[in-house]
Point group: C2
Chain length 147, copies 2
Amino acid sequence: MSLPSMDAGRVDGGLHVVEELSQEQCWDLLRSNTTGRFGFLQQGRVMILPVNYLVDGQSIYFRTAGDGSIAEAVPSLESSFQIDDSRADRSEGWSVLVSGASSRVEDQDLLTRLWGKVMAEPWAGGERNLFIRIHAESVTGRHVHLE
Amino acid sequence: MSLPSMDAGRVDGGLHVVEELSQEQCWDLLRSNTTGRFGFLQQGRVMILPVNYLVDGQSIYFRTAGDGSIAEAVPSLESSFQIDDSRADRSEGWSVLVSGASSRVEDQDLLTRLWGKVMAEPWAGGERNLFIRIHAESVTGRHVHLE
């Protein structure tokens, strides 16, 4: 699917071009970054919190506190994960949005593999020993740049 | 209110400190940045899209396309706006989350004032002549840093 607000190839006064990123480009960006944002619902409020993450297969993983707001909201059928970057000096930017169900990782083999991976320390510090998995059911991205 | 996943003053192995930001600190950060993310629901999917924005009073404003996914989702009782920054080399980061209803700006005096303000060009380029307002009903933030 494409991002509804994105007009691929649209030119703004001959300056800006908005391009849809391919699935491969999205995953390349996901694999080459370590900090993103987890989006979820908490009693109707759209929550967006930064997390450090890793990619394993077609899923996003991050650690959180076992007693925090994220742990309370997961498992969830509707959650998202987002990364972006922009260079105002070059009028350039990109963003990737991953959406799908999220769950707590309880499989021991998977946990062993995840703990064995090099991972940035959890963004918010503290004891964050619960691994959350976001199943990437939808992955979309766009790149905005000058012509 | 405080972010449920945040433990103010909590120390992680004597290294990380997570502090709740005051309302004033949150607004200072909101006023000193220009790019953030709008979070909203689209047919159940948690959408998180980058936008360039400005602060006027106790609201966040950004421009979007009149026929895009954001325009379709607004007005909305549940929407959020988020900014963050992190310095991995210093194990430091902060984030601010604004939540509240969002609406289309139709008041002519307000539109005149908004168009008169210096504002970064819309993140995604294109014709984005619809101003969206996020009423800041809840503003929370946190700062993670070394002791």
